[in-house]
Subunit: 153 residues, 2 copies
DNA sequence: TAAGATTGACGGTTCAATCTTA
DNA sequence: TAAGATTGAACCGTCAATCTTA
C-alpha cells in the first residue's frame, strides 16, 4: 500500500479553520436572512438571479444553469416559492414544453428589502475584517480552486 | 432612508468567486466520499471526531459541541448511522440520563478506509493549487472572519 | 426545575421515474 | 428519441415538544 500523504501542519490548520468559518458563516447568513426578511439563502439566490434578467423573467433550465442547481431541486424550490407568492410560472408561447419563471410584485419587494440588509451583514462579517490586499487574495485563492474544480469536472 | 453600502468591484468579485468555489467544492467532496466510501461529509465528521477520542467513545453532548451541531441533528444522524452499523449507543453508568456513542469495528474500518482517499482529494483540489504563502493567507483570512463570527455570536 | 437526550413534524435536497411536446 | 420540466420517495436538518433522571 502507498502511505497516504497527510496534510502538513499549516495545511491542516488552514483547512480546519476554513471548514469552521464556512459552516458558521453560512449558518449565520441564513439565520440573519430568515429573521430579517423571511428568506433562506436559496430563496435569496433565486430572487437575485431573477432580478438580473431585467424583465424578472427566465426559463427554468437557464435559471438552473445560472444557479448551478439540479433542475429537480429548482423545480421543487419554485413550487414552494410559488406557494408563498414570491414567483409565478407562466407557459412559454414559442415552446410549449418550456416554462417561464417570473418575479411577482411581492417577490420583487422581498428581494429589494432583503438585499441591503444582507449586504450589510456580509460586509460586517467578512469585508470589514479584511484589507484590500486580503480581498484580492481571497479572490485569487477561490479562483485557483474553482479553476481546478472545473478542469476536473 | 440610508443608502446601502454595496460591495465594491473587488469585493463583489471575491465574494461571488468564494460562493461558487464553496458550493462546488462541498458538492465534489461529498460526491467523492459517497462514491468511494459510501459516507457523507457529515458521517465522515462524526467518525473523525470519534477516533479523536482514542477509546472511540464519547458523550452525545460533547460530540455535539465538538462538531458544533445541534443536538437534535446529531441525535437523528446517530440513529441513521446506528442503523447502518457504523456506531452504537451505550448507556452511561454514572449518569443514567446520558449516553455514550461508540465506534463499531465497521465504523472504524470505514473511516480508516475513507480518510486517505478523502485527504488525497482535498490535496488534489485545494492544496496542490496553492503556494505555502497562499495556505498561510487562507488561514489568516478564515481566522479573521471566524473571530468576528465568534465575537458577535 | 434543569440537564441529557430523543422524537415528530415540516421544509430542503437528491435520485430515478415520469409526463408532455419537439 | 430527446428536450424541458415536474413528481414521489427517501434521506437530511431545524424547531418545538417530550421523556427520563439529577
Amino acid at each position: 500500500m502507498t502511505r497516504p500523504r497527510w496534510l502538513n501542519e499549516s495545511e491542516q490548520r488552514a483547512w480546519r479553520t476554513y471548514l469552521a468559518m464556512n459552516a458558521q458563516l453560512t449558518a449565520r447568513l441564513n439565520r440573519q436572512l430568515q429573521e430579517e426578511s423571511q428568506l433562506s439563502l436559496a430563496d435569496y439566490d433565486v430572487l437575485v438571479h431573477l432580478t438580473d434578467h431585467d424583465d424578472g423573467c427566465a426559463r427554468v433550465l437557464k435559471l438552473a444553469r445560472d444557479l448551478q442547481w439540479e433542475k429537480s431541486r429548482l423545480s421543487h424550490h419554485l413550487s414552494r416559492m410559488e406557494r408563498r407568492g414570491l414567483i409565478a410560472r407562466v407557459g412559454c408561447p414559442t415552446d410549449a414544453r418550456g416554462a417561464f419563471v417570473v418575479l411577482t410584485p411581492a417577490g420583487r419587494a422581498a428581494i429589494e428589502d432583503a438585499a441591503p440588509r444582507h449586504v450589510d451583514t456580509v460586509r460586517a462579517l467578512v469585508f470589514d475584517q479584511l484589507t484590500p490586499e486580503l480581498v484580492d487574495l481571497m479572490h485569487a485563492l477561490a479562483s485557483r480552486v474553482l479553476t481546478r474544480l472545473q478542469d476536473t469536472a
